[in-house]
């Protein structure tokens, strides 16, 4: 993926502002371009407007100012048609799960598409197998653990096969093993041509996963760019009340400040291996 100018936008938000009825200003003139077949991260501190931005992108909230375009067409003109194109997984899975069994919840969207019960069953089982939740299909969603609920919530959206997937804080409540599994799944989905936008305040995950990063602070866009350009910039990060990724901190502790800091654990390990090899060669 290239720089900002070369990105072909699938979703475009231009000068979007949103204020909640209680007067809380969630977004102030935010402009974002989401390119196709990429993983985009939106990061920032709590209350920075990440979730609101995602709801606007999904067409679930109408911005008071600015416009949202999907494939160049105004979202308002598209209306309900956009639901088949954009899937969203909410921050709290309890908001999304309401059917008596996990199977019914996953099948809900498919039944609305008036598919035959045979096809519904096949697709539900396919997604359940993919996410490792086959054993949960007959259980009521409210009896599941936080991580299981999150996977079921993801399945309810994935089953509809939307080209764009919006994930609101998908890694909260997950164990490190489950988070790694989800990260691999997101990468696989991108490789299959999906566009994934996720919000997270975990800079390490943003660094590992994203192709492009947007940083929000108090409802305003403070930075955007490739992760290795943005996430090493202490000044930008401090504006958003974020800290640099763990590999960057370790690198700086060991090597001092450099021009190109590693942001991924694999990058740090590669540097450390090189340094160790050099040391042992000198000895």
């Amino acid at each position: 993926m290239g720089g900002k100018e070369t990105l072909k936008p699938l979703i475009e938000l231009k000068d979007v502002s949103y204020t909640y009825p209680d007067g809380t200003c969630a977004l102030k003139r935010v402009s974002i371009r989401i390119p196709e077949k990429s993983i985009i991260a939106i990061t920032g501190a709590n209350g920075s407007g990440k979730s609101t931005l995602l709801l606007i992108m999904a067409g679930l909230l109408d911005p008071q100012e600015g416009c949202v375009r999907f494939r160049g067409i105004d979202m308002k003109e598209l209306g309900c048609k956009v639901r088949h194109e954009i899937g969203i997984v909410f921050q709290d899975p309890d908001d999304q799960l309401f059917a008596p069994t996990v199977y019914d919840d996953i099948a809900f969207g498919l039944r609305l598409l008036k598919l035959s019960e045979k096809e519904v069953r096949a697709r539900v089982y396919e997604v359940a197998r993919e996410l490792g939740i086959e054993s949960l299909l007959s259980r009521p969603p409210h009896r599941l653990s936080g991580g299981e609920k999150r996977r079921v919530a993801l399945a309810t959206t994935l089953v509809l096969n939307p080209p764009v997937l919006l994930l609101d804080e998908p890694f909260s409540d997950l164990t490190s093993y489950a988070a790694e599994y989800l990260m691999n799944l997101i990468v696989r989905l991108r490789d299959f041509g999906r566009t994934i936008v996720f919000t997270s305040h975990d800079v390490d995950i943003v660094a590992e996963l994203s192709d492009y990063v947007y940083i929000l602070a108090k409802g305003q866009l403070v930075a955007q760019g490739k992760p290795n350009e943005v996430l090493c910039n202490d000044e930008l990060l401090s504006k958003a009340e974020l800290r640099p990724p763990t590999p960057t901190i370790i690198y700086r502790e060991l090597m001092g400040y450099g021009d190109k800091c590693p942001i991924k654990m694999s990058e740090l390990l590669s540097i450390l291996n090189k340094v160790t090899a050099l040391h042992s060669h000198n000895e």
Partner: protein, 263 residues
């Protein structure tokens, strides 16, 4: 009321109400959805207006047979029957006691009057309510929520009303479970051991929070449903054909409903 009992009660009610939101696949169905729903609805109405104790008993027997025939889970029917019985007993018993007390001076003692009122009025009332509830549960289990809504749409019910009804059926158990969570959170903040007084105090303080949380939750649930492509006009009209076995079944059931009213 100790917290565990209150929570168990609310969770139990949520479980019971959830029976009505189950879905059932269309494969291997015995009769047409319309004939099942119309017949069972008529039976429920008939038993509600029956005069003797025999009508609800006959209907309960029929429900047992149909439960076996339609291969539905008897546990759910029993759950609903149990809860209905508890509610009706809770309402009728104080009324029976009061009625017995009023007529105490006129004829006999309190005990004799109470027995007479319970056997003549309360028991038939309880049986009627339980029988009607089990028939409705059987219908809900046979068809499942979406199929039932399709049938009602076919009977010219307004789609918006059906959509609201569908959401209500799905949402009330969620709200009850939310209430249990709120109560548990309040309970956790009590420093002393939970007492009956504290439980009642918590119940009174939780109402406002529940309303606000319920509103917020409803808003987010609405967005989640919208995101998955739901629109109130998406409940399709039922389009099955009524065959000869359906007609026979419906005639039998409607005939029985007529007999139950006359009995």
């Amino acid at each position: 009321m100790p917290k565990s009992l209150l929570s168990s009660f609310l969770n139990g009610i949520a479980d019971v109400l959830e029976v009505f939101s189950f879905e059932r696949k269309e494969d291997a169905k015995l009769f047409d959805d319309r004939s099942i729903s119309i017949s069972l609805l008529m039976l429920a109405i008939a038993v509600s207006f029956s005069k003797t104790i025999y009508s609800p008993l006959i209907l309960l027997l029929l429900v047992a047979v149909l439960t076996r025939l339609f291969k539905v889970n008897v546990r759910y029917t029993l759950k609903v029957a149990g809860v209905t019985a508890i509610f009706v007993i809770g309402v009728t018993l104080p009324m029976a006691l009061y009625q017995a007390y009023l007529s105490c001076d006129v004829e006999g003692g309190l005990g004799a009057n109470l027995i007479s009122i319970v056997s003549d009025v309360a028991i038939p009332l309880i049986l009627r309510a339980v029988a009607a509830a089990t028939v409705v549960t059987l219908m809900a289990q046979c068809l499942g929520l979406t199929r039932l809504m399709k049938v009602l749409r076919g009977l010219r019910f307004p789609p918006k009303l059906l959509f609201i009804l569908m959401l209500y059926i799905r949402y009330i158990p969620i709200m009850l479970r939310q209430l249990v969570k709120l109560l548990s959170a309040r309970e956790a903040r009590l420093l002393s051991k939970s007492k009956v007084k504290n439980s009642w105090f918590m119940l009174s303080t939780v109402t406002g929070s529940l309303l606000i949380i319920g509103f917020e939750r409803a808003f987010r649930l609405q967005m989640a449903l919208k995101a998955r492509g739901l629109h109130y006009d998406l409940i399709p009209t039922y389009s099955g054909k009524i065959s000869l076995p359906d007609l026979v079944f419906m005639t039998l059931m409607l005939g029985l409903a007529f007999v139950l009213v006359l009995m």
